[in-house]
Amino acid sequence: MMHRRNTAGERVTINIDGKNVEAVVGESVAAAVLAAGAGATRTTPVSGAPRAPYCMMGVCFECLMDIDGIPNRQACMVSVTPGMKIKRQAGARTVGGAS
């Protein structure tokens, strides 16, 4: 379980897989998800192995999640916003309908 070192700051409510949790303004989705103890945040497209945020700086692509309806976003590179809806991803993303 990860803990915030600095708990000061304004709070926002975000939603992770249907559950409302509090996050701190300015932190990344990955940080918020780890602090909420969410564990694995996706499974890989080919072998289905569980994965979680790793580098926290945008290079490893381990932190891919569905954020506000868009799959495969790097959770460590996106800041939390009020009401944000975040989902774990299972395997490969869908292509989705016509864009």
């Binding site: 080919v46 495969n72 395997g91 993303r93 869908t94 292509v95 016509a98 864009s99």
Partner: protein, 378 residues
Amino acid sequence: MPAPGAPRTFDVAVIGGGMIGPAVSLGLLERGLRVCILDEGDDVLRVARGNFGLIWFQGKGFGMPRYVEWTRRSAMLYADFAAELKDSTGVDIGHARPGGLELLLGEDELAHRQHYLGQIYQQGGGANYEVEFIDRKQVADMLPNVTLGEDVIGASYSPLDGHVNPLFLLRAMHTRFQQAGGTYLPHHRVSGVRKDGDAYTLDTEGGSVSAPKVVIAAGHGLKTLGPPLGLDIPIRPQRGHIMVTERAQPMLPMPISAFRQTVEGSIMLGVSAEEAGYDDTIDTATLHTIAARAKRTMPQLGNLNIVRTWAALRVLTPDKCPVYAESDSHPGIFGIASHSGVTLAAANAKVTAGWIAGDPPPPEFEAFTVERFHDAPA
């Protein structure tokens, strides 16, 4: 024991470790010959590392029925070739032959494609030419997970089309080659080939090699290696761009010419054609054109992120058909130049190798001469 410094000797020296050299070499080893592959280092033009991975039949052989036959032959040999590679090396090259589509946007493209394929059919593809036209509804039935763009009016379809993972193919061929006793010599760029008694000596940056037979399967390298050896084959580079999307759930059950989905889920988008000399850098305007066509054909592709992109240089002859030729002035030296070296790998391993080893050439090769580029038209 050879004298120190004497060239290493082989039955056949193959110049080039890309798509064509290793395929031919596997067949030579099967025939019990001692074979070496002389190759360059890593940072070189090597189309085997930059291609799209199609095993493609439809549309090949315009103006040359023998090339239609040769492509068909390779497509039919591929399943066994892939299975052999997997059994011996454990590498699955991901071969599948689910058939392939070329989607047509608008009446003009349909008319043009009908004319083009009609010519190939009439030139001798014959009644059993395995390509047909299907309408939009039939396309939609074949691609249940795809929302077709409104301009798609139909497609040409061939049951012979398929694909592989070309990097696994390259790796499998190299692994098999060494496993079967072949000698692979990277960093052995050949600077020249000299007649030396009954054999040829190949001078390289890594020492000399000697063999009575030499196969030049050097891709763009043939341009300079060939002419002094009686193989003046006018090849030119033609650049093609490829883009790769993030991995996604299965959407394309078959390759659609310039679009194919890998087993891992990535969708590859291609393929452009520019005359840019030996410049293989990326041109963003071309990438834009590729992406725009992808979206027009299958709008949902617009949802996907592009994660990689590159350009590579095709090895093209003036008529886009291959050359398989033995030199008249230097018997025992063979030159092979072809686009579609992925498609032809199975035929190169199973048939071309026999010709190098001394079998009569397969009937298709009567058309794949060097002279066709030099004789004045009658």
